[in-house]
Symmetry: C2
Subunit: 263 residues, 2 copies
DNA sequence: TGAATAGTGTCTATAAGACAATATCCC
DNA sequence: GGGATATTGTCTTATAGACACTATTCA
């Protein structure tokens, strides 16, 4: 919709659940500009895959509220800044990463999600390969990498837990456990239809490495033969002609992602 | 993320694309409260199915900008109002409808989408059966029903057109053609995995009526035998024991939706 | 009886899972 | 050669599409 200073619908505090009867007329005359506006922020779930699990980058909160807890990289949206640009800026400033696959996830707007004031957060998720992810994590103080523990199967959805080194739990700030859960749900939903897995791998990879990534995302073992057939038939893969080196078995062919698409 | 008046990251006008180097320190000291905030609104794509096409309810704009164009029902989000409540309120006040299937779609935030000021719109879509949809459309002046013309196949995505009675085009305000397009894309994506089609039908319906709805959403004809098998095996359907009446052929059994789920 | 759609049964094509056999590397 | 994984090929099973046939209602 659009701003309607000059007359049309809007909403002020205190009439959230008003009845339909007679309300329309009231709303017609309502001027939203007279009321305080919520803050708008972006939060980015930066994910990678390693050791059979998804991992996320989190930032330690040194101030109240949620002091000592861990939060997703986030920041307020500039008044003239597109939402995706804000997400990219947050990734660049907090993790030093750019050029990643980034996609909008969901907008979280419960009035109580931040104890101080109303903050509406447009959540994004971003995918990066293991090497760049590790570099980002060691970039600055106050950053940590957590392993996602998903307490549900398939695309059920719900919050997830984060575990740091040594199984130590990383308590999450605000509703960030929900955001991470939604990122996992989205990844699982897109896995079979969109070239998602490639975003978690370096430019060239073997079919088994790709299968491990898919198993990590979906949370279940996959049939090797069927996976190979599906991937080769998908049109997403391109043989590089190179082969694995320095392995103590027959080296596998390396493939690369054939399309630039990010859908 | 969260408001960080007391110290942490944020973003002010004019540094949208700053480089990562040295930026972090600046952002740490940034106080977002000092700057103007964007407006936040909800827009709702209210959809129904009739005559083999999807239809949407739109509102005529009587004021600038986009005067004379048609907009989705929308309104500003109250400072203490949850986003879904705002979406429901808009549906109640503009269309007089409540209790519908409503789901968040996408958040549109391009700085130029409204010519007057920055408005970030959290878009929702809602589904309703043909009868209630018709009632809603005749509820007030300035409302119209348009037939969606989808110029792409499958889940390609992109804006759609709206045609009123007599093929007359209904020009859409702002980015509302994109919102409607995203609603269609989402519907198509969920059709096979979630009980979506039922939301467009009255409480009881025949298998052929359900098939027509699925064909309307997906935009392609479906195999009757396979559709019947899939639906009966899905666990979503429950036979009512009733049969069609007043048809000049063998009456079909009526079914109802077996689960309340809206996923 | 005829028109029209509902509903059932069967056959075929396609894709996934299971499994066997061979290939290629390092030790 | 032995160990390990890659790669190919075949067989089986589940599901979707195609099609034939019977059932039931109203005109």
């Amino acid at each position: 919709m659009a701003v309607r200073r000059s007359g049309r619908a809007g909403q002020g505090p205190g009439v959230a659940q008003a009845q339909a009867t007679g309300e329309a007329a009231f709303l017609e005359a309502y001027d939203p500009g007279r009321f305080e506006r919520p803050s708008v922020a972006v939060d980015v779930a930066l994910l990678s895959a390693a050791g059979g699990a998804l991992h996320a980058l989190v930032v330690r909160r040194d101030e109240h509220p949620a002091r000592g807890r861990w939060a997703l990289p986030g920041g307020f949206v500039g008044l003239e800044e597109p939402l995706e640009v804000a997400a990219g800026r947050v990734l660049a400033s907090k993790a030093g990463l750019s050029g990643l696959f980034v996609e909008q996830l969901f907008t979280f707007g419960d009035p109580g999600r931040d104890p101080r004031t109303r903050v509406i957060s447009v959540a994004y998720y971003a995918l990066v390969d293991q090497a760049r992810f590790g570099d980002a994590a060691s970039r600055a103080e106050g950053l940590a990498v957590g392993r996602l523990v998903v307490p549900w199967e398939g695309e059920t959805g719900g919050p997830v837990e984060l575990r740091g080194p040594g199984e130590r739990a990383l308590p999450l700030a605000f509703d960030h456990a929900e955001i991470l859960g939604m990122a996992v749900k989205r990844l699982r939903g897109k896995l079979d239809y969109a070239p998602i897995g490639f975003q978690l791998l370096p430019p060239s990879f073997t079919l088994l490495e790709l299968q491990r990534v898919h198993e990590t995302i979906s949370g279940r073992p996959l049939n090797k033969d069927s996976f190979r057939r599906r991937m080769l038939a998908s049109g997403w893969l391109e043989a590089t002609g190179e082969r694995q080196a320095e392995v103590d078995h027959r080296p596998a062919e390396r493939y690369r992602f054939a399309r630039r698409s990010a859908t």
